[in-house]
Amino acid sequence: MPIIEVDQITKEFSGQVALNKISFSIQQGEVFGLVGPSGAGKTTLLQLLTGQVKADTGQAKVLGHTTNRLRGEQLQEIGIMTDNSGLYDRLSIYDNLKLYCRLYGCSLKRIEEVLMIVHLGAEQKKKVQHLSKGMRQRVLLARALLHEPRLLFLDEPTSALDPMNTYYIHQGLRALNQKGTTIFLTTHDMREAEALCHRVAFLHEGKLPLMGSPTKLRERFSDATVTVRLTGREPMILQNGPEDAKKMYDYFCSNQVVTIHSNEPTLDEIFIHVTGRGLV
């Protein structure tokens, strides 16, 4: 049974369509990325799935429950990290997490564990008001992981973070997914989507024009060519087929090959190809 089921969801704000008859489903253990430019409706969809917004038409189910009826029991199995999730500035990282440990009924030992995952173990006594944006994001992630949720929602988890903080967050998410947590994330960073997601869906003008695994999408839009750079010569593009295969064989035999690059498009290029616009 899918862990998330979205069926023909439509949502309008003041006559403007944010989501237009969207349908998809996510299986247990998947990392699913919703990709699109700012203002595409990613956050609206995430809010809808977490019961913060009601759909105008259609139905969404999370863990088998209709999203506008998510209550304590279901929320116990869900972790949510959004860019506007709040922390108590005057309290330490530890005290912030302690509150949620009590609310979710988990052991205080979990605080140490989640802080290790986000590499903040040494900073736990620091007050939140003294943390950088990246560290705050990591605290938010730690809080979302406290109760070992079955399903984790992340809204732009690494937006505006430096590479080191991004690395820590990605590392934490991979470890969590390996333990079986399903992750639904929104991002406008295609590299993040490629690095983390089993499947991505492009959200454009309220619709999902394309969905699939990053590898399969790249293959689908690939022109099946490679760029070969040889010693002392300009790069050349070779195609599938006996003629270029022979050339390639000769280059290898004569030790001329410096680099070979596959010409699969990036997700950014696929997005532009499909939607006619880039990600901003």
């Binding site: 917004v53 999730s85 005290d95 302690k98 009590r102």
Partner: protein, 235 residues
Amino acid sequence: MNLSIQRTLAIFLKDVKDVTRNLFVTTTLLVPILLAIAYRNLGDITLEIHYTVINLTFSSVTAFVQCTLIAEEKEKNTLRTLMLSPATTSEILLGKSLLSLLITLITILLCIQITGYVPEHVGLFALGIIGSCLFYLALGTVLGLITKSVMEASVVVLPIMFLFGFGTMLETLASNNAYLKLLEYLPNLQLLRFAELLEQQKFTSLGLPLLVIGIWSVLSALLAVMVYRKQLNSR
């Protein structure tokens, strides 16, 4: 009603830690205490003055602190995060009210120590105080929920502080105008009426002011839950 003591206490204990580091709130507690000291120095304290200090405690401590605590949670988006946790409406609202209740009771005890007020019947006095406190807690909660920031909340709460804090002065005004007579049914004036009857040992007449205070408390608590639920549904 689903109520987990552990969750309610967790929210309360968090607030205790948070408020002790919040100068904005802690300095507010001094207002009624300073007023009590000022009145004590003037000497000859009447029942009205004792209750001016008590009513000011309700408006400037109970309602104000509660309003600020809720408004800050809203401003920093922590209320939204609490709403997305397994904590229920009753756990969140009760947990958020315990600290204001505790602070209020301590402040009132300090103030009556300073002004030298000795109630005729401690149990009935406590009943009147708790009943009134519930009203001001609910009022503070509503104001905190409908405002967007601590700054906005501290402005919105001012007329409330005036109306309920110095309400005993309204009594003179009310007695001169038929329409303003309705002001006599405000919870602060009903508390004073209750205290007067208590002082005169007219125990059988205490029911009416207690009932009025009770109605105010129940209505405002219902309003607080309603406003909270509305926020919950538009999380």
